[in-house]
Symmetry: C2
Subunit: 275 residues, 2 copies
């Protein structure tokens, strides 16, 4: 890790928290991850996870993270607080809130655990895809800052659409290699952000853009910090799909795979949309 | 709904909350849903959802529910508190805690919304199965009270195992018709409980029982109350699978379908286990 703040990777800068009085942490939105309204949700997820991981009584590594996006986060400062809900011998529950003024703009529940080696088995198979190096990096992205923070190599289901609605709904599935840009060795923070890297499925299904935003995301981390370190900064394989759209909401189901075929994280989210 | 408490369906009795001073609600564990240690997690999920839905400022219907199981719930009384985190025009976030003494034994985040009609589309297809009526109800269940609160009709992957470990891991997938016993018209409470109705996958994969328990469950409700009312008390189709086991945890991915082929809920959970 570079020791001057200006040398920080943008994700580390965007998730930096400064301790203040009463245990409250202070952070600031980062233009490097700006989205249509407020920051890229993945950055917020990484930030709330980081707040939990930096808690003085935290044990072990993250296992589960649920982040609720409660209000738009305005550009500028925010306060983050972490509460220890329950700590067992090896499993711990934390609760995190992000506030701007009187508004709780996001909250999160975090499960950490001191994991031990056990019987292991991976029934899920990695989708068959060409290696990342043989898939071109996506160009012509819309001018949203956070999109430039990732190199996307779409194998299936590119999300950017010509602006004419499809006559029939298209597949909601995407399959892509993705890496932080600039490159950054994978850890649970960047993995938490990567779990939200899928462009909302409704764009590619309908072929039009409508107002839409993630309301809640849940990610399970199957990989230990050591396993993530082995992956390093090489692209991971990401898969997303949806099962049902209607009544202003739809789901997204996602997977993040190492390039050696291990499931690093599984994730789901519910997204609000307007016609 | 019967008006005498003794006529209540066991699920309604198990999730009954009595308002007390300071807005705290009081409930009590129900022997009808007893599990190995504490109550069936689905009952706890339904209870925390009910606490949110009975909040005086609640708007709309539930869209998302994450429940964290933080400590074993002892037989007896517990206190439940609900906090309004953020209410927008049509989307609301609530936070719920269940306490016994000084211990927060469970917490939950709940998203509710006043849903409007929109474009609708269901890419996911219901698994092909014989009708519920042609599948026999499972007999010979282990003597855990909560198992008697459901009629299980397994089409694939029955979870109860002979006690000899499989030489090779078996499929983690199950497919079953399931209904409350006694019968109860479906609503979001019983749907929240049904999302946890899958016996932990590790039993059927390994063919042995090991200590295991859900740590966190997230459920998305795709169906409105009106749609659930149409399903009534008829069995729903439930599907569960797992992607990766290891380091003391594994995931479960679940779906709950109406008998007319609509996805009512999608759900995922992370489960702790010991070798």
């Amino acid at each position: 890790m570079p020791d001057s703040p200006t040398d920080l990777h943008p994700l580390d800068a965007a998730t930096r928290l400064t301790p203040g009085p009463g245990g409250t942490l202070t952070g600031r939105t980062s233009p490097a991850y700006a989205n249509m309204v407020g920051p890229f949700g993945g950055t917020t997820a990484a930030l709330l996870l980081r707040a939990a991981l930096e808690h003085e009584r935290r044990i072990g590594e993250p296992v589960a993270l649920t982040v609720n996006f409660c209000a738009a986060i305005a550009e500028g400062e925010f306060a983050v607080s972490v509460r220890e809900i329950r700590s067992g011998r090896s499993v711990q529950h934390l609760y995190v809130e992000l506030r701007q003024g009187d508004t709780i703009a996001a909250n999160a529940t975090v499960v950490c655990a001191v994991r031990a080696d056990t019987w292991a088995h991976q029934p899920a198979a990695m989708p068959e895809v060409p290696p990342a190096g043989s898939v071109p990096i996506l160009n012509g992205k819309p001018p949203l800052a956070w999109l430039s923070r990732y190199d996307f190599r779409y194998v299936e289901g590119p999300p950017f659409i010509p602006g004419t609605a499809h006559a029939e709904p298209q597949s909601a599935r995407s399959l892509l290699w993705v890496a932080d840009n600039p490159a950054r060795p994978l850890d649970h923070l960047s993995l938490a952000a990567l779990c939200d890297v899928f462009i909302v499925r409704i764009y590619q299904v309908r072929g039009t853009r409508t107002p839409a935003g993630t309301v809640s995301i849940t990610s399970y981390f199957h990989a230990s910090a050591d396993e993530l370190a082995v992956q390093g900064a090489r692209p991971v394989l990401a898969k997303a799909d949806s099962m049902r759209f209607g009544g202003q909401f739809f789901d997204q189901q996602g997977e993040v795979w190492s390039d050696s075929g291990k499931l690093l994280a599984s994730t789901s989210q519910v997204v609000w949309f307007r016609d």
